[in-house]
Amino acid sequence: MATTAALTLEEIRKGLAWRKQLDKVFVLVGLAVLFGCLATLAILFADLLQQGSSRFGWDFFTSFPSRKAERAGILSAAVGTSLIMVVTALVALPVGVAAAIYLEEYAPKNWFTGIIEINVTNLAGVPSIVYGLLALGLFVYQFNLGQSILAAGLTLALLILPIVIVATRESLRAVPKAIREAAYGLGATRWEVTKDHVLPYSTGGILTGLILGLSRAIGETAPIITIGALSFIAFLPPSPVTAEFPFLSLEWLKSEFTAMPIQIFNWVSRPDQAFQANAAAAGAILLGMTLLMNAIAIWIRYRFRKKINW
């Protein structure tokens, strides 16, 4: 029954065995590469933990920097980093989401918006030191914000804006056309479609993008050195909550600051070996903060996927 062109069963089996071997080879290579990457990260983390093991303790979190390594802690750096992140998130989220909504939902598709889009994507690749220089000229001197938490937060917001915009656009685009049509079909305006449907349904993706952006910003050193982070700060910024009316104060925004990467850099560059343990411990904590933020991003995405699956 077999025609001359058809393979015999034996030939089919022989060829198939070889092709399946290739399949297995790829799986092995893939696994090797994957474990190689993960192992490097794990070893790095373990090394930091081991080196800094002597410093982990409550004191390390509640102490200011000190000339004595064993009394030094990360209090001012951790508080500085947290406050900067708050400013960065509060600026990058509304600006980034607004820009993404405009580009995705409103902007006409022409050469001009095309150029803007390419530029936004390219901004993500601009070296962070360049943002630092820009911020030094613009925020610190031009706007006279000084070497403050506000200036640092704005700088890092600028840095992660492209990440937030790209992530937001992607999650806006993921909202099916059918849902938009349903809303338009009921007589909604473009803004109503955006605010009642597109935006709420893409919250998961937007927050994920924001957190991934923040976890990039948290480790950035170059731009905040450029705008003048101090490496030795033995005080905390003024509290945002006050005893008198109106109970909230924005004084902390104007405060000088230090941040985790700066503190680590400072300790590493000291000749005294004892400070290396401090640097390792702070490094492990910073890495832990980053991993925690990524975990939160994954959890948010998972939650929203469960609620809304198209």
Partner: protein, 298 residues
Amino acid sequence: MDALITTSNEPKLRKVAPMQGDTSTQKVEKPSLSIVLEDRKATRANPPKANAENLNFWYGTNQALKNINLAIPEHQVTALIGPSGCGKSTFLRCFNRMHDLQPDTKYQGAITLRPDNVNLVGPETDPIEVRMRIGMVFQKPNPFPKTVFENVAYGLRLRGVKNRTELAERVEKALRGAAIWDEVKDRLTDSALALSGGQMQRLCIARALATEPEILLFDEPTSALDPIATAKIEELITELRQRVTVLIVTHNMQQAARVSDFTAFMYLGELVEVDATSKIFTNPSKKATEDYITGRYG
């Protein structure tokens, strides 16, 4: 008893669909298809709710609709049939200006809505105003990922209804109208995505009904559903004509035969023939129509 076709005394329909011979006395011949046509009382065309007049439509430079003239009789079901790409969905979407969401589309001519004679596709007419008056049910059920209640209430909220009691009443009325109230009355706060496909589509019908549209458009509403869900939707559509004027696009000729009072056959962007459904399916006057309904192409 065979349905009597007395459309000839309706001047509007006659104008757009000239018929050969005196159809009022012509007996309907034996069905050439194995379709059981319902015995309908309403084969006389009501006065038109909307009139397409010399309607042309372009996607870019591609002309998708060519000089369409069609009357949509009020409180009756008009079906649009034809092979894929014939422009039936394009025509349907002109009625609520869905094409305006895409760039580079162009309307010419008019769809006049009675009684106020607004030209639905006129450049001076606001597409949102049009969509406030004309509802649509889509091919794939597309409920919002919100609760059942919020899905139906959304159109009302857009229209400024804030009173909770009024919202609840009108949502219930719409859900009853879409024959889904009994199935969801205990699940109003559940996500609409938890419903079955057929329930979702009836929810979408309720969502469209809640705002009491003047015309309800159906774009192949059962093509994503199983036969039982399809049967329920079809039954619903035949009942809906008492409340609203219905225009339905369908790929399924049996469906057109079952649910509609009038059927328009479109081919290559043109309206070939429109007549009472029983007439179209038993004794079409154009060769192309006959070829299509007997399955020679399409």
